[in-house]
Subunit: 223 residues, 2 copies
Amino acid sequence: MTERAADVPAETRERILDAAEALFGERGFDSVSLRDITGQAEANVAAVNYHFGSKEKLVDAVVERHAGPINEERMRRLADAEERFEEGPVPVSEILDAFLRPVVDEIMKDPVTERVFCKFMGRIMSEQGYQLPESVKPLFQQMAAAFAQALRMARPDLSDQTVMWRMHYSFGVMSHTLMHSEKLEQISAGRSGNPGLEKLFDHIIEFCAAGFLAPEQGEEGQW
Amino acid sequence: MTERAADVPAETRERILDAAEALFGERGFDSVSLRDITGQAEANVAAVNYHFGSKEKLVDAVVERHAGPINEERMRRLADAEERFEEGPVPVSEILDAFLRPVVDEIMKDPVTERVFCKFMGRIMSEQGYQLPESVKPLFQQMAAAFAQALRMARPDLSDQTVMWRMHYSFGVMSHTLMHSEKLEQISAGRSGNPGLEKLFDHIIEFCAAGFLAPEQGEEGQW
DNA sequence: CAGTCATTTAAACGTTTGCTTAAAACAGAT
DNA sequence: ATCTGTTTTAAGCAAACGTTTAAATGACTG
């Protein structure tokens, strides 16, 4: 086992993952070259193909590192909320909280990679043409279905399509905000404990929950 | 002046712009090569540099083609609404309508490029690191400032930061929805007149306006 | 018809891309 | 010290990238 230098932490594999996450978040998957990544990770280009097989699998590995835990935590929190509210429907804001909070937690695990991961998550959600790795797809779909059903129960007066769309909108709010999280700095100035980030998510939940509570108008079934 | 073939419409310059718009929207700016574009436009690679100077300036040209007219129309509609409501504040939903409607109109100008342009607009708004062309920046900032002020007047009880953030969120909803407009098809099935698209934007306005109407909670000034 | 201009073209430029190779460096066990 | 398996490395591959060049083509004018 090699001793690591002070400024080059952890194993090569991890360093590559960290560098890739940072650069992918900043500039997108296609625009970042393996040499950009290995340059920042202080590793050899060939190391990527040795550890991951290809650039595409590197992307998958970066996504898998966070997506699994986040989606599992979402399911856990939703189940917890459903238990707390017994048979009655879970309020929309509680559902949205179960959806967003795990992202905040994941971001705040490592304060160093905080902003980096913000952008990366935002990019995953907004980059289109990008396919989730097969390994995380099932859990993701399962999660989306569970949240859709919870929201339908919370707003039984809304049509299914409206619920789906408003879920979609909430996704957009979160994704867009994470992507442009530089502007988040003016908020999370007070670093320790990061009250700013949590406040921001509360703010998002406020906005989306209110959007969900809007009555459905116009002729229904037209869609 | 050359006569154009039936399947190769318009001038080379326009064909390149059309192809670029379609491909950029579909796959992003960096991932699309000049050869992809000229291949689809049935033109020579060198034609891009002849007509536009560089790939970057091509991107600017595609953006400028739509951004100017849209932002001007936004200003016009906002001014119109302010006139309609005299001294009293313009309702949030009217402001959002003035912001979104010009996009719908621009999209529907040419039904062929409809979906193409949807994605392109969405990408412009979400792609980060991308800089608006200098030629459209001033108008864009002017537009954003005018809408921010109108919204502050519509909700004088909200803090300035909250108004800014909720504007940001609304931006995210629109951007995300445009980016993933494939899913829009299930809606705009009935083609002629495209009632689907207009309905979708009404739906978005409903959601965002309701979000704006949410009371501000939590300790203020903390930010 | 020759001359002038704008446009289009094929070919090539030097870089950079993702990926492979074969040898070197390393760790741990014998 | 020697073998074994893993990891890292420099060097190089073909392909694709944005851009440039110089010649060919086209459409008008004198």
